[in-house]
Symmetry: C2
Subunit: 197 residues, 2 copies
DNA sequence: ATGCCTTGTGCAAGTGACTCTCAGTTCCCT
DNA sequence: AGGGAACTGAGAGTCACTTGCACAAGGCAT
């Protein structure tokens, strides 16, 4: 399975996503097309599939029952995964990100994956903390938005020659600071009848 | 064009998204399949296409140069559009939402659309306010996350028989309050779990 | 009027992603 | 040994989507 994905990514790097058919992937990986579909479902799946979804969910789940503030749980969980994903595995991750950003169909599939992960996480959070599910969705969506923005900002800087790259941690930190300031503004500007500044 | 979409949605309602081919849509709308593709690009496009994207962008743009706090601009713009979309146009909107939530391929296309709209909005914001683009992305992503959560919460309540529906405004307001509280928590717990640096 | 360009539309053929069904193989459990 | 679950492959079919071309209608200049 991992072997199939690796072969596929190599072919995509070599010839471009659109110029490679599933059949060619199957042949190069020495399996049948059926097998590719069985494991990855779609061609885009060959790019976006990874283990990090479940690991992130597990990392969050592990921390939730402890009564730890959920924000801290999220940040710890993200930091735990990010190091490996964005630093150690930097090369492959960049390649997959690049394919994703340059091909709308892959980007769409990725976005769907994120939405589904968010939904699962929100349920988990609501269950563990006795929160209303609607509330939990807002929390997860906000945090996920900040995280994803960090990922996008990281990628775009990394991909652009005139910007010198920084560690992913810094992008993550910036994004969360930004989230905090938006939150603060919301708090002030909330509904009519707010006090002037 | 509008005629084609209406016909398509009627067919989807009647027979289900998967049981309707583009050819059938074309025939029912008395155009050729080529025309359908020319206007909507994909089958999913028949569901997700609408005018609200551009209108939202315009509503934001119109407010930005005024020096109005960007959050207020966002809320006003959203409120301006939401009324029509979720109250007046409630029936069709529900139907399209239902198709979207029940068909991963449509959901993916919708998510992509949101991502692209966010990107455009972030650029607009950065330009109008002289913000760093990365910063602008965080702001837009946070606000969009809250908005979308409101939409999802609204839809799920609306679709569920045992919950009695509230006005969309209330979901929107709840979501933004939730966003504020997340922001506040971030502010306190700051700095992504790093001991060094 | 004649030509000309743009714009909108239809036609037709081709590609390849994806589905479904059935049949073989391996491996494990009793 | 036997029976069944899990994995894999073969083959045929559907249909979304692309591409290139031709054809018509309307404006605009010559």
């Amino acid at each position: 399975m991992h072997q199939i994905q690796t072969t596929a990514l190599a072919l995509f790097a070599e010839r471009g996503f659109d110029q490679v058919t599933i059949e060619q992937v199957a042949e190069a990986a020495e399996v049948s097309p059926s097998t590719v579909y069985r494991y990855f479902g779609t061609k885009e799946g060959l790019v976006i599939h990874d283990e990090y979804d479940d690991r992130l969910l597990a990392a969050v789940e592990q921390r939730l029952p402890s009564g730890m503030p959920m924000l801290q749980a999220a940040l710890e969980a993200l930091a735990e995964i990010s190091d490996e994903h964005f630093e150690l595995d930097r090369g492959p991750t960049m390649h997959r990100m690049r394919l994703t950003m340059e091909h709308p169909s892959i980007q769409a599939a990725g976005a769907l994956k994120v939405a589904q992960l968010s939904a699962r996480t929100a349920e988990q959070l609501a269950r563990a903390r006795g929160m209303a599910i609607g509330q939990a969705r807002v929390v997860v969506a906000s945090l996920m938005a900040a995280f994803l923005t960090a990922v996008v900002n990281w990628y775009l800087d990394e991909a652009s020659p005139e910007v010198e790259p920084r560690d992913f941690d810094e992008y993550l930190s910036d994004a969360f600071v930004g989230l905090a300031s938006v939150g603060a503004e919301v708090r002030m500007g909330d509904d009519p009848g707010r006090s002037d500044r």
